[in-house]
């Protein structure tokens, strides 16, 4: 916590690795939520 984070630099993009990792994980989670099968109960209508 006392040391500054390392930064990812690419052109105008300047973002800390912790933030970059969190955003990357969020994108992965969103993609997984779209395709992962959802457990279905028997009491759903159409």
């Amino acid at each position: 916590m006392d040391t500054p984070a390392h930064y990812f630099d690419w052109g105008f993009i300047h973002i800390s690795y912790p933030n970059l990792i969190v955003i990357g994980l969020m994108l992965v989670l969103f993609a997984v939520a779209l395709v992962a099968p959802f457990p279905r109960g028997s009491d759903r209508n159409g």
Binding site: A36, N45, G46
Partner: protein, 214 residues
């Protein structure tokens, strides 16, 4: 002593309580408020993001109540206090992560369709109020970090011309906003948001067939 009079139907026409009750019954019947069945397209993990956001908010509020009751010395110096401090911090992280995932899901689903524009806009206001709550939270930590943030933020507030009445160096003002006004605002708007979702049902995905909530 006034005599009891018989209630006639024409007398009820002017009753505002009756009008409110009838409106609530029409707009938000109990099978909408607490449905036991959902359309088939609700069977997707995308719809879970909003619920996880609410769950995170509950933890934020519960841990925040404990922190405000016990005070800064407790949350900085004792192991249990540091645990609740961390619980508050990490549940806020989860709240924002899943709120943004919920936002992405509703954006790509065009969740404002079919009369749901107000629901979307209230969500936008919740997002903005949550950011303000988080910022005042960083100012309420009572450590060197919060002092550093406050002094740097003061320049930004002054340059925007709001430093006179939104003084980030005024701990009492920031703490009051963080533990009282803003959490009540966020919680109230979340309740309104949920009730509006329940009144119309979740939005049908683009191109989906069937289902009662169109």
């Amino acid at each position: 002593m006034a005599e009891l009079t018989e209630v006639k139907p024409e007398m009820l026409e002017g009753s505002w309580t009756l009008r409110v009750r009838n409106t609530v019954d029409r707009v938000l019947p109990m099978d909408h408020l607490l449905p036991h069945r959902q359309p088939y397209y609700v069977g997707s993990w995308v719809y879970v993001f909003g619920v996880i956001t609410i769950a995170a908010l509950v933890w934020v509020v519960v841990s925040g109540v404990v922190l405000s009751f016990m005070g800064p010395q407790w949350w900085h110096a004792s192991s249990l206090g540091r645990f609740f401090n961390s619980l508050h911090f990490w549940s806020v992280q989860l709240f924002f992560i899943f709120m943004v995932l919920h936002l992405w899901g509703q954006y790509f689903m065009a969740g404002w369709r079919a009369g749901r524009a107000a629901t979307w806009m209230i969500g936008v206001v919740i997002f903005a109020a949550s950011i303000l709550t988080a910022f005042t939270g960083y100012l309420s930590q009572q450590n060197f970090d919060s002092q550093f943030i406050a002094i740097n933020a003061k320049d930004a507030m002054n340059s925007a011309g709001i430093g006179a009445f939104f003084n980030v160096l005024n701990f009492g003002q920031m703490y009051g906003l963080h533990v009282m006004l803003l959490p009540i605002t966020v919680t109230f708007l979340v309740v309104v948001h949920i009730v509006m979702v329940r009144a119309r049902g979740v939005v049908k995905p683009i191109g989906a067939e069937g289902g009662k909530a169109s």
